[in-house]
Symmetry: C2
Subunit: 232 residues, 2 copies
């Protein structure tokens, strides 16, 4: 948990143009810690004291209001979270908890802000990172605004299908309760949505899903690159 030059961190687009000294300095101030599942790492409203990276495992970003809770995103290796709050030195807008046993890298926010002020290449890398984040949230927002629950599920399955690359097969990234929350619905509703998709060749066993008729599922889902493509 000291001066670790984790190659997977060093090679992130955020850091790969950074000088060795600057990067070492950041890493010397950082903490690498293992957490069990279901540990709260930070809570919305807290001051942004650290920038986080998921090195291993999985983290849920979630939020509460009016007695309701919603999972906004899953972060998997190697992804960062709450960069915007750190840079603006404001409070977190989302809470974060480990959803599995996870290894988390924590960099003090002040060190990030110092590096941002000092290192021009780092500042530029942050721009592209933030712009990507921004576009990702806009897509999530459009997904929620413009689609029904069944459509969101269908498109999510097709997205996993493409990224996982196994023809006709999809592995869900989490339990169904969490998936439901990510998709903005209740577990009951997700269960019924899977039922609705059965005639389109979707068969679910635990976290494994068989897509028996991708063509007809695609007709139903009407995937839209401006919502579903991770790259655009």
């Amino acid at each position: 948990m000291r001066i670790v030059d984790l190659p997977e961190i060093r090679q992130l687009s955020l850091f790969d143009s950074m000088s060795d000294e600057s990067f070492s300095e950041l890493m010397n101030a950082a903490y690498l810690q293992n957490f069990p599942a279901q540990v709260d790492l930070l809570h919305e409203g807290d001051n942004a004291d650290f920038l986080f990276f998921v090195v291993e495992g999985c983290v849920e970003l979630y939020a509460n209001a009016n007695g309701r809770e919603g999972v906004l995103a899953l972060v998997r290796p190697v992804g960062s979270f709450i960069l915007a709050a750190v840079l603006r030195n404001e409070v977190y807008l989302m809470s974060a908890r480990t959803s599995q046993k996870s290894r988390i890298l924590m960099i003090p926010a002040q060190n990030i802000r110092d590096a941002f002020k000092r290192d021009d290449a780092f500042a530029r890398a942050i721009v592209l990172e933030l712009a990507g984040y921004f576009r990702a949230v806009v897509k999530e927002y459009k997904d929620l605004r413009l689609r029904t629950g069944v459509e969101r599920l269908a498109n999510r399955l097709l997205k996993y299908h493409i990224t996982q690359g196994a023809p006709g097969f999809v592995q869900l990234p989490c339990d169904k309760k969490t998936l439901a929350s990510i998709l903005g619905m209740t577990p009951e509703n997700l269960s019924r949505a899977f039922g609705t998709l059965k005639p389109y060749g979707v068969d679910v066993v635990g976290q494994k899903v068989v897509l028996g008729d991708v063509a007809s599922l695609t007709v139903l889902a009407k995937p839209n690159p401006l919502i579903d493509d991770p790259s655009t």
Copy 2:
């Protein structure tokens, strides 16, 4: 419509740390144009050829999918839009149209990207701008996920009430059809939501709203700084 040193643009946090030469160069390449209401300025999926600023008037950002349309945001003077797409040199995720007669500043995307590469202060200003955008969308997303239509309307009214600073009075920023879409509901539903709020002292006449009992409206709305505060 040539080399205009619009002071309101020059003083934006995006540009105020930029050198005079760089700023002039940007402005020399830019176009300042007047548009009537209901003109489409750009469409989602188009290449990001320009960065836009609303100098006067108002612009709606909206998106379509699955036969539905939703207004995602209103941009008023002096605000920019689609900065993320320009920086990443990708396609727009949202469409934009004038909702009133508007004066629009258009800066070619390539000039923005050049300035970003060349000017360190500009790159840093962009970071803070993008981080603010990101947080704004996250708030919109939470608003939609965690609140009912009536709650969204109540909180929006309270937000306008604060920003407009007139005790007990609110001026709606657009017609009700557009407001409904911004709030993620149908015009009919918005009309009924206003009806629901009547017992809480909300009286609507055209685009003017009287808040007769801010206290009880606040109890209903349960405003949350992590969703409603523009500053955080």
